[in-house]
């Protein structure tokens, strides 16, 4: 019980490190921490660490999000991530949504410092690329748009 309590505090303080969610918290209620976020994170470490616990994906893809996601990609991401599988500064994005959970991707974008500190998968990438992925001040809503753009990049319709 004590262990759970300590973890709970750790996670709450992590959540408070997440960027300002603004309107997005309402738009994506499932992206805000639940009353007891501990078990979720414990039970599924492949979702990464951060405020994003559960993302619902829709088919067909949401075109508005793709448009916004592309614009953010061009401004804040394209300098390091290609849309192919070619690694430049960071890994190329092709196939990313097939190998990573959507929550993991969004936590990596919005909570990168904690992810690089704690998440084993993120740490493997740092060892490979040797440049810390910067915190580009992307909100959770914006990260969701980027995710939609990534899905399109991976050929989803």
């Amino acid at each position: 019980m004590k262990y759970v309590y300590v973890c709970g505090i750790a996670l709450l303080s992590l959540a408070s490190c997440a960027p300002d969610k603004g309107k997005n918290a309402e738009e994506y209620p499932d992206a805000t921490p639940k009353a007891n976020p501990v078990e979720e994170a414990m039970t599924d470490p492949t979702k990464g660490i951060g405020a994003v616990k559960n993302v619902t994906l829709h088919t067909p893809l949401e075109q508005d999000r793709i448009k916004r996601g592309l614009a953010i990609y061009e401004m804040k991401c394209s300098a390091c991530h290609k849309l192919t599988d070619q690694r430049v500064v960071g890994p190329g994005w092709a196939g990313l949504t097939k190998t990573r959970k959507p929550e993991w991707i969004m936590n990596m974008i919005t909570n990168v410092d904690v992810m690089l500190e704690k998440d084993p998968e993120a740490q493997k990438l740092l060892e490979l690329c040797l440049t810390r992925m910067p915190n580009q001040n992307v909100s959770i809503g914006d990260a969701r748009d980027i995710l939609e753009f990534m899905r399109q990049n991976d050929g989803e319709k």
């Binding site: 990609y73 061009e74 401004m75 804040k76 394209s78 300098a79 390091c80 070619q86 430049v88 500064v89 040797l130 440049t131 810390r132 910067p134 915190n135 580009q136 001040n137 992307v138």
Partner: protein, 664 residues
């Protein structure tokens, strides 16, 4: 050695010792540090924050420095009136306009006094103002970004020393001229016609409460004297401003002697609410003038300069009841109002006493017309009628006074190198401590406000002589912190300062820290040459101008290979830092540029202009260590001969020669 010389030297020494003994105000012993707990009081452990920001004038450096108190650690030097090749201030295309004046681009000045903005007479942490003493100007620095946001020039001023003191709600920043000068159409006049043709001007600069934008609201035309320092009234005296004036002798040569003839000069009391009434009645006169106003736009990351052509003036010799003179002994320098707003302390720098004037008594004297005469058409109030009392034998050469929250005043004494603590009401001297050496201004956190924060008094010294390891003939100036929480002032720390520290203010960190800007949002960057993402990086030719829209992110510049640029071209590198994380600036420099570097903050765009003079391939690189691969953050630009037909070409990560290139 000649015995006579030795004897003579001994005699000189003996005489000096005699003089020293006679002057009981001299500091007792040099170099001694106070109690053993001193170091603990100034110690801020690694990783912990200081309690106060100390904003210190850089004097002849033209800049303002930011220290922490009580540690004395230097955090930053803010470029204000002087170029700064380190940050590119005054060198980048965006910031050149900040140093524009009616005399053209002026690369240097002399900043004497910071003034932190106030609301209801208390620090509000929005802006700090600074004066340019040489080419008269006032600057406003934004305390969110610690950058100079605006600089306004002052027409009809000969040297802006009596500045930038502010009213209780930052309604006005004042600017009084140190040199009276001939103005208007009659400026080519013999210097000997001083009395007839030279005038002193005081400018009241309004400050927009929303965004701080400055405008000269009006100028007061005053007799030809020298204005030294000033303070606004507060509380009951809000609506009034007090200026110290010297050279009421109206000397124009050897002022050292000729401006020190009279027993008393003046404190000038200005009823600025009255001036506002006259302006509302349309009694101001619009006069032609030429002065620059330069503003930095945080959205375009660019400064623009405009030349203004008119200023509103009032003549208090005609429009009565705006100004009054109060006699003050011997070339008054400091002129400080206490937190209650009732007492005005005048410090005659050649006086051996400190007069304290009462605002209530000044008002009574004006109501009763208790005048001893007129000076250049302005009433002079009788000294005794305005006087609360005198601090007797406080020391030699009083300069400036600051206050704590307990009714005490702290006055600096230049000649006797000491700080003297005294009670404002009783005028009784309570304590004195030596300073090392020759103190000018001093600072109590919040000392000039209605609510002093107290705790420390900091001395800003002109001379350090034997205090630090010597560095040749030119030595550092210094500050010294004294703990004032007890009855006795205790020296706890010496620290060196940049330039010459004149005045300084200190403000609780809690009023500044939470609002400090961390990054500029790339989405909100409206620079005309921004590249919001690598996809927008490009090179464009417009005649002989080449514009490089470059991006910087850990750890590459895009484009990093540029060809098709020729000798005779003017190349503009518009570098956008794409980072959106705190404390990740990138730098930019190119070989042979007759220019400085750029330091570009996250989300910002800055421009370096470069004229290649000869053919070759020129390297450029990031100057700010940004990541493990910082040393790889570099590129080349090929310069071909004038008239060459090498096509314009640019890329990053492209390798034409596959044998030589890395990657795939």
């Amino acid at each position: 050695m000649d015995k006579k010389i030795i004897l003579r030297s001994l005699l000189v020494v003996a005489t000096l010792v005699g003089i020293t003994v006679l002057q009981m105000c001299k500091p007792q012993a040099p170099a001694s540090v106070s109690g053993s707990d001193a170091a603990v009081k100034a110690y801020v452990p690694p990783g912990q924050y200081d309690e106060f920001y100390n904003l210190v004038s850089g004097g002849f450096s033209g800049q303002m420095s930011v220290y922490g108190l009580p540690s004395g650690r230097l955090f930053r030097v803010i470029p204000v009136f002087s170029e700064d090749p380190t940050t590119g201030y005054g060198y980048s295309e965006e910031t050149k306009a900040m140093l524009n004046t009616s005399h053209g681009y002026v690369p240097w000045d002399d900043l004497h006094h910071p003034a932190i903005s106030t609301t209801n007479g208390e620090h509000d942490g929005r802006w700090v103002f600074g004066n340019a003493n040489n080419t008269p100007r006032v600057a406003r620095i934004d305390l969110k970004t610690f950058r100079t946001s605006e600089i306004i020039e002052l027409p009809n001023s000969g040297g802006n020393h009596s500045s930038p003191f502010i009213t209780e709600n930052t309604e006005y920043v004042v600017a009084g001229t140190r040199f009276s000068v001939p103005v208007g159409d009659k400026t080519d006049v013999p210097i000997s016609t001083f009395k007839e043709n030279f005038k002193g001007y005081i400018s009241f600069i309004s400050v927009d409460p929303k965004d701080g934008k400055m405008n000269i609201a009006f100028q007061l035309k005053t007799p030809g004297v020298s204005f030294d320092l000033a303070r606004a009234g507060k509380g009951p005296s809000h609506g009034w401003f007090f200026f110290s004036c010297y050279n009421t002798e109206q000397a124009y040569t050897l002022l050292e002697v000729n401006a020190s003839q009279k027993d008393k000069d003046f404190i000038m009391a200005v009823n600025w609410k009255k001036a506002e009434e006259y302006i509302a009645q349309g009694k101001g006169e619009k006069v032609k003038a030429r002065y620059a106003r330069n503003r930095y736009d945080e959205s375009t990351h660019t400064a623009t300069s405009e030349m203004l052509t008119e200023v509103l003036q009032l003549d208090p010799a005609v429009l009565k009841d705006i100004i009054y003179f109060i006699p003050c002994p011997k070339s008054p320098h400091g002129c400080d109002t206490d937190p209650s707003g009732e007492y005005i302390v005048g410090s005659g720098k050649l006086a051996a006493l400190i007069p304290v004037f009462s605002f209530t008594k000044i008002q009574q004297a004006i109501a009763n017309k208790d005048f001893e005469g007129e000076f250049a058409g302005i009433p002079v109030i009788k000294y005794e009628s305005a006087l609360h009392g005198e601090v007797k034998k406080p020391g030699l050469g009083p300069l400036h006074t600051e206050f704590d929250a307990n009714g005490n005043a702290y006055t600096s004494f230049f000649v006797s190198s000491e700080i003297v603590k005294w009670n404002v009401k009783s005028l009784e001297v309570l304590d004195r401590v030596p300073t090392y050496y020759s103190i000018g201004h001093l600072c109590v956190p919040g000392g000039p406000t209605r609510k002093p924060h107290g705790k420390y008094v900091i001395a800003y010294n002109k001379i350090t002589k034997d205090r630090y390891l010597p560095t040749g003939p030119e030595l550092t100036q210094s500050a010294q912190i004294y703990d004032i929480t007890g009855d006795k002032m205790k020296l706890i720390l010496d620290f060196p300062t940049i330039g010459e520290p004149h005045y300084a203010e200190a403000i609780p960190a809690s009023l500044i820290m939470p609002q400090s800007t961390k990054i500029f949002k790339i989405e909100e960057n409206n620079h005309p040459y921004v590249a919001k993402g690598e996809g927008q990086a490009k090179v464009e030719r417009k005649g002989n101008e080449v514009h490089v829209y470059m991006t910087a992110i850990r750890s590459h510049l895009t484009p990093d290979n540029i060809e098709g640029v020729r000798v005779g071209d003017e190349v503009y590198f518009h570098v956008t830092n794409l980072e959106q994380d705190w404390d990740v600036p990138h730098g930019f420099a190119i070989k042979g540029a007759a220019n400085a570097e750029l330091l570009i903050m996250p989300g910002e765009t800055a421009t370096l202009k470069w004229k290649p003079l000869s053919v070759g391939v020129y390297p450029f690189y990031c100057t700010d260590f940004c990541s493990a691969l910082h040393q790889e953050m570099q590129g080349y630009i090929r310069i071909s001969p004038a008239g060459s037909n090498v096509p314009l070409k640019y890329s990053t990560g492209k390798t034409d020669d596959t044998a030589a290139g890395a990657g795939r």
